[in-house]
């Protein structure tokens, strides 16, 4: 039997594939590798370039000193504390709100209601809104307008909460959805109420996913710059926040300030500050990945 007669396009058994096909395959594969190389190369260039530039200023003084007009003395302390305050409050507020919404949508809400679908669409859209629009919202309604909280920690935290809320909701929903129905059914069969089931069975099982989501949204809040630009966080601030009504600055905006300064010495400080920020973010992301990997096997 001659295979060639049956399907001329297919390579006959034992013969090599036509070399032009093979070449196209190789070229394709190289293009794919090139794509990955672009990403890897850019990341490494960025990290190395930043590290080389910022290294001279990486010392304890950087973390202890306050920002200064004198580059030799310029430090990051007020921005570090400002970021801690902001990210801390944002997480504290967004977590219950986000998880609560997720529980509502997954466990309580009727699945086919148009109203619920609207909420879901809404959340997905909010996740895609450019972050600077949240800054506009904050400027119009929160810093000025009806609430008039001014350019304070309270305002910044509220805007960041609104920004990360969709992310927390989406991540929590996925985590809750991943809990097998058998666990719910078993609990209900044993006579538990719906809330008892959620509180004692579903949520604990979903904690790793929720934790991952909240760590990732916290790191998103930490790195945000655009909305806070409109909320006065770009000021020269040399004190740590002492209350919700304090002025503040955050690490990304201090980087922006130092990077925009014409003096080259400030660029070095900016690069060093970037290293600090990246180290923290990397640690947060690594923790999130670890949590996800460690607990994924259980279910």
């Amino acid at each position: 039997m001659n295979l060639e007669a049956i399907s001329p396009a297919a390579p006959p058994l034992g013969h090599k594939i036509a070399s032009s096909r093979l070449w196209r395959d190789r070229i394709f594969r190289s293009i794919l590798l090139l794509s990955i190389a672009v990403a890897l190369l850019t990341l490494f260039t960025l990290l190395i370039d930043t590290f080389l530039e910022g290294r001279p200023r990486l010392n304890g003084a950087l973390l202890e000193n306050m920002p200064s007009g004198r580059p030799a003395r310029a430090g990051l302390q007020s921005a570090i504390f400002g970021s801690l305050w902001l990210v801390g409050i944002t997480s504290l507020v967004s977590l219950p709100l986000g998880v609560g919404t997720a529980i509502f949508l997954e466990e309580y809400a009727p699945k086919n209601s148009r109203y619920i679908r609207l909420i879901e669409l809404n959340i997905q859209n909010m996740a895609g809104v450019p972050s600077v629009v949240f800054g506009i919202l904050g400027l119009a309604f929160i810093a000025r307008g009806p609430l008039s909280w001014g350019f304070t920690v309270r305002t910044g935290a509220m805007v960041l909460t609104i920004l990360v809320l969709p992310l927390v909701i989406i991540a929590s929903r996925e985590a809750i959805r991943a809990v097998p129905p058998s666990i719910r059914d078993g609990s209900l069969a044993l006579g538990a109420t719906q809330w008892q089931t959620i509180w004692r069975q579903v949520l604990p099982a979903a904690v790793p996913g929720i934790a991952t989501g909240s760590i990732l949204s916290a790191s998103r809040a930490l790195g945000e710059s655009a909305p806070l630009l409109l909320l006065g966080a770009l000021s020269f601030v040399t004190f740590n926040p002492t209350s919700l009504d304090s002025g503040y600055t955050v690490l990304p905006l201090l980087i922006f300030k130092y990077a925009s300064d014409a003096k080259a010495e400030f660029h070095v400080v900016a690069a060093a500050a970037i290293i600090v920020l990246l180290v923290v973010l990397l640690a947060m992301n690594a923790t999130a990945i670890l949590v996800r990997n460690r607990f994924q096997k259980r279910l």
Partner: protein, 308 residues
């Protein structure tokens, strides 16, 4: 059988009450997202309407000069639109092919070991704050890449190209991860069938996986567009502040988003026309990204091929 009362026990009543409280408070919580969306629309809508009561829509959409903060002010939004278009185009031209390529490789070719290395790298790239990328664009990409290699015209300190390239790098991980999700959803039976028929891996990619995952891929592309359009900080740091009506990416430009950031730093007096331009441009930006987001959701729903 003991004759127990059929009335609900005290504990059961308490549980039911808790249930009711929880249910109502959670539904209130669920409304928060709706309230926020309404607030966004309201905060944008009122000043925008006021703006258009003072400035003609025709001028806004057709004039080629954007100088709202000068005297006499000019309100033609076209330069911002072309600026946004330039940065977005460069970004998308970089991110879509590379993102797709990375997705194909991770999904179809990569060994588990390579995946373990590349996926975290992409996640790290996705997590880099935009201010860091902006710094990189201004201090490295523009002088070392754009100024040296861009052939058309002189390239100054700021360029749409440097901003666009770095925005592309910023959205590449998103593109790759969404495309890869779409590809993983394609059942193995399709792959195996194609391979059994003698297709090479490339042919499986282009002939089988790509069409099957098309809806997810298109959704990913649309989202990439949306993110590139909305990116503020990178454009603010690297594209400049000159709202120039130009199609040469070697020139400095101002995008819609970077204008908002720029005007926000300058802090326009509340109620002035300059203040209202922030909202008018913000509305335009919001509408464009909103439409793109809806489009991507629709595409997924409409073209999703069920694999049950």
């Amino acid at each position: 059988m003991a004759s127990e009362s059929l009335a609900p026990s005290g504990q059961l009543l308490r549980q039911r009450r808790i249930e009711l409280i929880v249910r109502s408070s959670l539904s209130v919580v669920g409304l928060v997202s709706v309230v926020v969306t309404i607030a966004i629309v309201a905060s944008l809508l009122l000043p925008t309407l006021e703006f258009f009561s003072e400035i003609s829509i025709a001028e806004f959409f057709t004039s080629k000069v954007w100088a709202p903060l000068f005297n006499p002010p000019r309100f033609g939004v076209l330069p911002l639109v072309t600026g946004t278009f330039l940065v977005m185009s460069v970004a998308v031209i970089l991110a879509v092919p590379c993102g797709l390529g990375a997705a194909f490789y991770l999904s179809e070719y990569a060994s588990p070991r390579l995946r373990k290395v590349v996926k975290p790298v992409l996640e790290v790239l996705a997590g880099i704050p935009t201010v860091v990328l902006g710094f990189f664009a201004l201090n490295f990409v523009n002088p070392q890449v754009v100024q040296k290699f861009w052939p058309i015209g002189d390239v100054g300190t700021f360029s749409a190209l440097s901003a666009g390239l770095v925005v592309g790098v910023a959205i590449l991980p998103l593109m790759a991860s969404l495309a890869e999700d779409a590809m993983s959803a394609v059942p193995n039976s399709l792959r195996d069938g194609a391979l059994a028929l003698g297709a090479t891996r490339r042919e499986v990619c282009t002939g089988v996986i790509f069409p099957a995952a098309l809806s997810g891929i298109v959704a990913a592309v649309v989202l990439a567009f949306s993110r590139a359009i909305g990116e503020t900080t990178i454009a603010l740091m690297a594209a400049g502040s000159n709202p120039r009506f130009t199609l040469n990416p070697g020139n400095g430009v101002q995008t819609m988003a970077s204008f908002i950031g720029f005007a926000g730093i300058g802090d326009q007096p509340t109620g002035s026309t300059g203040y209202k331009t922030i909202f008018a441009v913000g509305s335009l930006l919001f509408i464009i990204t909103f439409l793109l987001n809806i489009l991507s959701i629709r595409v997924v729903r409409r073209f999703r091929e069920a694999y049950e």
